[in-house]
Symmetry: C2
Subunit: 353 residues, 2 copies
Amino acid sequence: MGDISLEELQLATRNHGMPLEALRYDVTPVGLHYLLIHYDIPAVDPQSWTLTVRGTVQNSLELTLDELRARPAVEMTVTMECAGNGRARFDPRPVSQPWLSEAIGTARWRGVSLPSLLAEAAPLPGATEVVFSGLDRGIEKEIEQHFRRSLPLTETTDALLAYEMNGAPLLPQHGFPLRLVVPGWYGMTNVKWLDTIDVVVQPFEGFQQATAYHFRHDDDDEGRPLTRMAPRALMVPPGIPEFFTRARTVSLGDVELEGRAWSGHAPIAGVEVSDDGGESWAEAELGEDGGRWAWRSWNYVWRPQAAGEYVLSCRARDEAGNVQPVDAPWNVGGYSNNSVQRVSVTVTARDLL
Amino acid sequence: MGDISLEELQLATRNHGMPLEALRYDVTPVGLHYLLIHYDIPAVDPQSWTLTVRGTVQNSLELTLDELRARPAVEMTVTMECAGNGRARFDPRPVSQPWLSEAIGTARWRGVSLPSLLAEAAPLPGATEVVFSGLDRGIEKEIEQHFRRSLPLTETTDALLAYEMNGAPLLPQHGFPLRLVVPGWYGMTNVKWLDTIDVVVQPFEGFQQATAYHFRHDDDDEGRPLTRMAPRALMVPPGIPEFFTRARTVSLGDVELEGRAWSGHAPIAGVEVSDDGGESWAEAELGEDGGRWAWRSWNYVWRPQAAGEYVLSCRARDEAGNVQPVDAPWNVGGYSNNSVQRVSVTVTARDLL
């Protein structure tokens, strides 16, 4: 991996990942969920804020936060991952937010069902997509813009307009007062600081939809848009870390490995573990199903036979037959890098502190 | 600035800074306060956890969380900064957690006064220091260790054993179930996941006390320990950012600059602003005093006379006569870099979105 630039470091210090030991929690504690904030966190006054639903609809809507909160509420536990997770592991490294493997998190979101709100607005014949506009704004590739993304009407079924996260009002950095949550899709879909919902006839061609977030083999490739999360398993790095290198040390003996796995395409069917860098694999035990959109816990008792150096990996497969690759394909934007995690571990014969 | 290594990036993705637009909040929202976690976040069972107070005392204590919560509570708003804040701006760059300028935050901490607990334990004649041990452990410079720091008994006056942050139980990453808060001191003093308090006669010589966190001019310098936070002012970068470079653009006209300033030595006496990279300075207006240990807000209406490129800076001075330097002195560990912030801004004659 080449060295990281100042620009990448600036992004890394702003946009934080989830320390992987937090894989131990079913629901990620507040403040440990990953964050990718394209521009600045906007300051939103909830008293004057309203949500506008408009466009190719029979009934335009303008709703206050209180009006949204007065509607029937839906709650879902959802695992979310940045489409750029793993980017900094590609070689050559695509230059943007330099995620390693920590751009993940799981939260309990509570809010209003998007289909119910759209039904109220009543899309007119010809409507095909919904465009979500956030209040966050900035400049990207010389284009001044609000963060905006669209979703086909056919993909809105499970989506939520969330005003609560983990039982409390949304925090500023998670989109206060309202955000979109589209379970199973990569993070950029889940527009924060939601301001306007436009029902449209023509495909939305905004920057974040038509230019960014495409999987392109090379610069000439038109690419395909990123949508649902590819399957991935991650483990809590076992033992204790060295401060600077994060290298792990465990004592010889049984080591309880644990982690989580998820896929936006289908439920997790299994997780395998390797202690020889991917030469051989053994099946892990899956934990309880925490719901269709939540990650699945897994456990594996690792019994290293001797002190020495090991490389631990895990990989997930889902019920649609998607298998996490040992090495995911490089692409221009550095998206969807679900190559298996590699955790170097020193097994020592001595007891640790 | 030279390029950043994989090891530094690993730390940057774990240990997050406070996005500087969050300087707008008196109290930093949960999840935006900076975090520096030396090893891993330990999993602590609050049911079996106890705090032990022992050593050169008349009465050893062992207290449950409920027993601590049943005592008279103290609440304080405290600004905390990592001693390594600004490290990555030094040239050559000391290699460790690569902070730029965002390793800060302000929280409302609630807990038990440390002096009251120490009075109950009743230090015996000869006792000079208190050693705080955390449950977090790892390896640093080949030494296996729990995170441990000491404080002279004479410096314990304002300290708190906190079980709440911003009105809720401590989050795992902030030291659940109990942490030390020593207002005015750099972050490493505020031991998290507190387990044991030892009252001792001899100066504590543990790694984090005697080796790390020293200001050393060169490798032969014995150095002096880092203690209280040097004065610093920071501003919310104005206007809107470019995604990758974070470069700022504002429209020509009055620009309301705002920020915060603090010093661990004495209350803030004033903040100055420069728009020419530190050639000339103008006095900002200080906001209300939020308490001795909280940062002080400041405002300044900047009136750029023409479109063009500017470099904005701010600097603080405190009532003890400490003035923030334009360029702080380099040191081996990269500590206490309170060089003034430099924010490059493009002023454009056009209106922004």
